[in-house]
């Protein structure tokens, strides 16, 4: 893998995380318990999809084969997506969704902050825009986690179970692979070890305030960054790509 390949892999992976999470959140549009929260969720999903478009457009330019954002989103197979396993997990109940978003957003915010300082100007620019959006998402979702954790006995129990279930997917975010290493060395990319330390401290503070227990680090699932996904992703992609696969080139 040379620097150019690493850069392309890194950018399209950022796009994959943003797109898959955005698509997941789109699934619950019109299904949230309150209108106001419904609107917030839809706004957040659009923020993610907007970020995915910027990353994919850049990836297409880097690749230089004439592929655009739609080709990356709609015409790749499941094993070509390199998003984290955490974000492809099904939405579950409201507490599951909120927990997943807090775990990921807390990581993503630190990653974006680091990316604003990276050696690739285009990524730094996208990160600077995305960082403002994610800072608000995290603020909003953290409040919900605290309300649920420090709420009723039932909400506390259910959201604690959400954390315990999702925890196994958090290790992958910090697992350094060849792409991360090259991007760190050649483009002054993020130091995932440093981000992990800060993430753990931030998550601990949130969980403490929510009166929730932070799970012990145990076995961690991995594979998303290499394209080996849980069964959840296939269904998501089938739905997301249906229209372009059935009516190739459809436009409106």
């Amino acid at each position: 893998m040379n620097d150019k390949q690493a850069l392309l892999a890194y950018v399209s992976r950022l796009g994959d995380n943003a797109l898959i999470l955005g698509q997941r959140m789109v699934e619950v549009v019109a299904g949230y318990p309150e209108l106001e929260e419904e609107l917030a969720n839809a706004n957040f999903a659009l923020d993610y999809i907007g970020q995915a478009r910027m990353f994919y457009a850049y990836a297409g330019e880097l690749e230089g084969k004439g592929r655009g954002e739609d080709d990356f989103a709609y015409l790749r197979e499941e094993n070509e997506f390199r998003n984290f396993l955490l974000i492809e997990q099904a939405n579950g109940h409201f507490g599951d969704s909120i927990t997943k978003l807090v775990l990921f957003d807390a990581f993503y915010l630190l990653l974006l902050e680091a990316l604003t300082q990276c050696g690739d100007l285009r990524i730094a620019e996208i990160a600077a825009r995305a960082e403002k959006e994610i800072r608000y998402h995290l603020r909003h979702n953290t409040q919900w986690l605290i309300r649920l954790g420090d709420g009723t006995d039932e909400s506390h129990e259910r959201v604690q179970a959400s954390i315990d279930n999702l925890w196994q997917y958090t290790g992958e975010m910090f697992a350094v692979d060849e792409t991360d290493e090259r991007f760190a060395n050649s483009f002054n990319g993020p130091d995932l070890d440093a981000i992990r330390t800060e993430w753990q401290a931030n998550i601990k503070a949130i969980l403490d305030e929510a009166t929730l227990r932070m799970p012990e680090d145990a076995w961690m699932a991995s594979g998303g960054k290499q394209g080996r996904h849980t069964e959840q992703l296939g269904y998501l992609i089938a739905e997301m790509q249906y229209l372009q696969r059935t009516y190739p080139g459809a436009n409106w």
């Binding site: 318990p33 309150e34 209108l35 106001e36 609107l39 917030a40 909003h140 309300r147």
Partner: protein
């Protein structure tokens, strides 16, 4: 989900610096912070604002429509309260 509705909040948005906050609408929220977030997500999606106030609707003291005659009609025949008797100098804008 409980059957109880969240309290109603009134939302006021200031569209740009220098102007005052204007009533934009209302939202439901369980607490003040959630109300502020909901107002942001509902009423400033198209760059409508630079500042948001939210206030619980139940905290607003309002005039009684039944008393509107006593409240407002006495002002009807006091035309001398309107500054309409001044000559407007040429070239004055925003009046």
């Amino acid at each position: 989900m409980s059957d109880k509705e969240w309290p109603l909040y009134e939302v006021f948005i200031r569209s740009k610096s220098g102007l005052s906050h204007r009533h934009a609408g209302s939202i439901h929220a369980a607490d003040d912070q959630m109300a502020l977030d909901a107002a942001r997500d509902t009423y400033t999606r198209r760059q409508e604002g630079v500042s948001i106030w939210v206030v619980r609707s139940s905290e607003i003291v309002a005039s009684d429509p039944a008393e509107s005659a006593a409240f407002f009609e006495p002002a009807e025949d006091k035309i001398y309260r309107h500054p309409t008797f001044y000559e407007m100098p040429e070239g004055v804008e925003n009046l």
